[in-house]
Symmetry: C2
Subunit: 501 residues, 2 copies
């Protein structure tokens, strides 16, 4: 590609990034500081910026630019792949379908809210059917020759497909079910009781984020109803958390999780802005970064030892031992609720959803049968069945809003994190003694080099493969879980292949 | 104008308002919560949104729309006047001049920062000369037939002119100089000593804002280095303040001042969005709202009585009497610094600047003579002369950044506020007893009806005239100042024309 044309393209895409940064601030403010009565106004502002972004991503000059890209240049080749995918997606969906789907999602979300309130799935089914039909129609419009679920998967996790995920998730499920069963047969671990004053929790959250490597000159930590991370551009990545007096570890876990997302955003190759490469490679890889910090590091005994030494400064009258923290951090409970799930059962919640939405997309399952199928799978995989629709099939908003194909990224994140963690532990012999001292810089350096700095030059599975070699992520994850939970619950000997404290 | 064309125009202008709201959020965040390293990124975001706004305000369709507006309809007539003015201004300045001026301002501001640091006006003079020349050139490009200072005045205070302001400000100056001299000959009043804990000050600021009528569901109060108000659209008007432990009254005064601005913004006729009428009529009228609350209400004895009853809840160990508050709120001191000036001398600071910038624009004064002329006028009007350039001519950033014609709006605000206050006091016989009870709703109602709800349907001087009748604002302001300060300092009998406690 001629350098003038390349400059034009980069300038165009850079403008889109700048616009997205502004839009991200509006979204962040909406969830943190915006006054209540500004909601309508904010909707208009977000709508306008979305329209301006859409105009830019469907600019007809992009066709010419794409044609001229030089595949010998790795950045231009990545740009062709990343931009081409989004451009075709936006271009191929007719405006009237965008409009019908937007209205169906909006009606779907409203219907879901009401149905959940009344715990009545049947009243939501027609709206869900409509959103599902239109989502499939959209997938077909984008790529009529492909599996429609592959098309939606690709929106969050390019580089994955039904044919790769189905066996991967089945093997994981078959390994997790017996582990969860074995744990459930043992006495429960104790949770951490007591009220922890919010002022101290805020200080602790900030201190832990800073220790992990979060730079408060390049970001913020605030409160919101649901924790989230948003990157507004170079030097501005913001995280939120939700702290509660009776849930010290839940709140801190949320902070660590979001901090993992933020460290990824902060480590992206910003010098490649305007090329599509200075972006996260996939939702699953993003999730791997939050999960690695939250689970592998944050639930480890060395981390609990370090944390137990920090607590007295913030809660001088509430002594908590490292062992107490470690046990409370790793309680496993068969439950119905995904967002409250522990590390062992979490992926089973996701696999239920993956299997169900795939069946819906493949028309092997009808919307009318969904609640029943949900309950059956919960019984089968998690050993519990919902007594009501509200605590079962209606618990998540995702489907009401057309969010098919997104759930897998949570489990992909855990799988990537397991292999990354195993490779990192092998590469850093002092890892756990450093964690115990509150030294996290080598972990961050390793992740920067293995994951962050690659941005979206390659697809996520390739980035992970290059970082860890030919590992089996299912074996890695199961080995880590058996090692930690087997020992804690006394259900099996530690797997010695991967030493994870 | 045909209703379809009118709808198109309103839609176009509404989009511009929505864009400006988004831009305002970026600006607010920059001064309140933005992390330090985001500055460059934020500059790009603001630059892009400014360019998008500029494209919309110079849209060539506006010529046709303007031609078709119907002057029989008061909203369309106002739209022609308001939009036509901005459109012609933006259209007539060549892009290369915009660019040269932008670079000159940027260099001017940098030069000013450095010169102030070194207190060396001569090193700043060449950059100022350049900004001044280009500002005059720009004014001539906009309206070659008009006085160039009228052109810049109109950008902040449409409806005013050199020929109206010159005699108004001269009369005010001639009335203020003897008052200030008389006060300066008397013993000083006591300031409020002591440290007031910031937590209590924040609570107090919020409580006072709420009492004045600020709706926290439609806005926020945060911290920033320099207090400001920004309207992001309907239901979202944000104010900031800067509290210091040793300056309870200064911080609270800042809150009340910004609150006055915010109440104006919140009272604008939002239902007329997209017509140019749902906006403030001028910077001077905006300032009248902040000054009326800050000075007329906030420095009154009845307000101090109410305030003295609120303080013990926040500062239980620091009793302060109403009389102490009243005297501390109304200390007058000859000084060199505009932003720390009291109510009596403040307008003399402005008049010095107005006279000097007018002379510069009329080429009666050269940039090289400015520092000397500044010192002379301070000596003459305020009885003090700066020992250094830093505390004299270099104290404000305005001119370095091309902000000519803006200073007058501060004094216009005080003049409008004086007449509005006099008319309001005449219309509300229970005014001061209600203020003493912390009841401010009737004040707000009166201002809503007299000022806020008119938006920019008429020009500011006409709005004020309609609200107060044929009053002389200079007499009103001088009467109020003599009444309050004469009594406090024992320099003259209370003027009984206007009863202001």
């Amino acid at each position: 590609m001629g350098s003038a044309a390349w400059d034009d393209l980069v300038h165009h895409l850079r403008e889109l990034e700048v616009l997205d940064g502004a839009r991200a601030l509006l979204g962040w403010d909406e969830q943190t500081f915006m006054p209540r009565k500004a909601a309508e106004q904010r909707g208009e502002q977000l709508g306008l910026l979305s329209r301006l972004a859409h105009e830019r991503i469907t600019d007809p000059r992009i066709t010419r630019w794409l044609d001229a890209l030089d595949d010998q240049d790795p950045v231009q080749a990545a740009c062709r792949r990343n931009l081409g995918r989004v451009y075709e997606r936006e271009r191929r969906v007719p405006a009237e379908l965008v409009d019908r789907l937007a209205r169906a999602k909006s009606a779907g979300f409203a219907s879901w809210l009401e149905a959940k309130e009344r715990s009545d799935y049947s009243s939501f089914a027609p709206a869900l059917e409509r959103v599902l039909d239109l989502s499939r129609e959209r997938a077909t419009a984008i790529a009529p020759e492909r599996h429609p679920y592959d098309v939606v998967l690709e929106e969050s996790d390019p580089g994955t497909s039904v044919s790769s995920l189905r066996p991967l998730f089945a093997r994981l499920r078959d390994g997790l079910v017996p582990l969860l069963e074995a744990i459930a047969a043992k006495p429960a671990l104790e949770s951490l009781e007591g009220r922890f004053e919010l002022g101290g929790q805020w200080e602790l959250s900030r201190e832990v984020a800073r220790a992990l490597g979060f730079d408060f000159d390049s970001g913020r930590l605030d409160h919101s109803e649901h924790p989230f991370t948003v990157g507004l551009g170079a030097g501005d990545v913001r995280i939120t958390t939700h702290l509660r007096p009776t849930d010290l570890l839940g709140g801190l876990g949320g902070t660590i999780h979001e901090c993992g997302h933020a460290l990824y955003e902060l480590g992206l190759p910003r010098e490649l802005g305007g090329t599509t490469v200075a972006e996260a490679a996939s939702a699953g890889l993003h999730e791997s970064q939050s999960r690695l910090w939250e689970n592998l590091i944050g639930r480890s005994l060395p981390f609990c030892r370090w944390l137990s030494r920090q607590l007295p400064r913030h809660f001088p009258t509430q002594p908590v031992s490292a062992e107490q923290l470690y046990r409370a951090q790793n309680r496993v409970e068969r439950g119905l609720c995904r967002i409250q799930a522990d590390e062992v059962s979490y992926n089973l919640h996701i696999i239920v959803r993956f299997e169900l939405e795939l069946s819906l997309f493949e028309r092997r399952l009808g919307v009318a049968e969904l609640a029943r199928a949900w309950a059956d799978k919960y019984q089968q995989y998690l050993g519990v069945a919902p007594a009501t629709d509200a605590e079962g099939v209606l618990q998540d908003a995702h489907w009401s809003d057309g969010g098919f194909g997104y759930f897998p990224s949570y489990t992909l994140g855990n799988l990537y994190a397991a292999s990354l963690g195993a490779a990192m532990a092998a590469a850093l012999p002092e890892l756990w003694s450093e964690v115990e001292q509150g030294q996290f810089s080598r972990v961050l350096e390793w992740l920067r080099s293995a994951v962050h700095r690659h941005g979206h030059l390659r697809e996520a599975p390739d980035i992970v493969r290059a970082a860890v070699g030919e590992r089996d992520p299912v074996s890695d994850l199961l080995a880590q879980l058996w090692a930690r939970y087997g020992a804690l619950y006394g259900v099996a000997p530690c797997a010695d292949a991967t030493r994870v404290p």
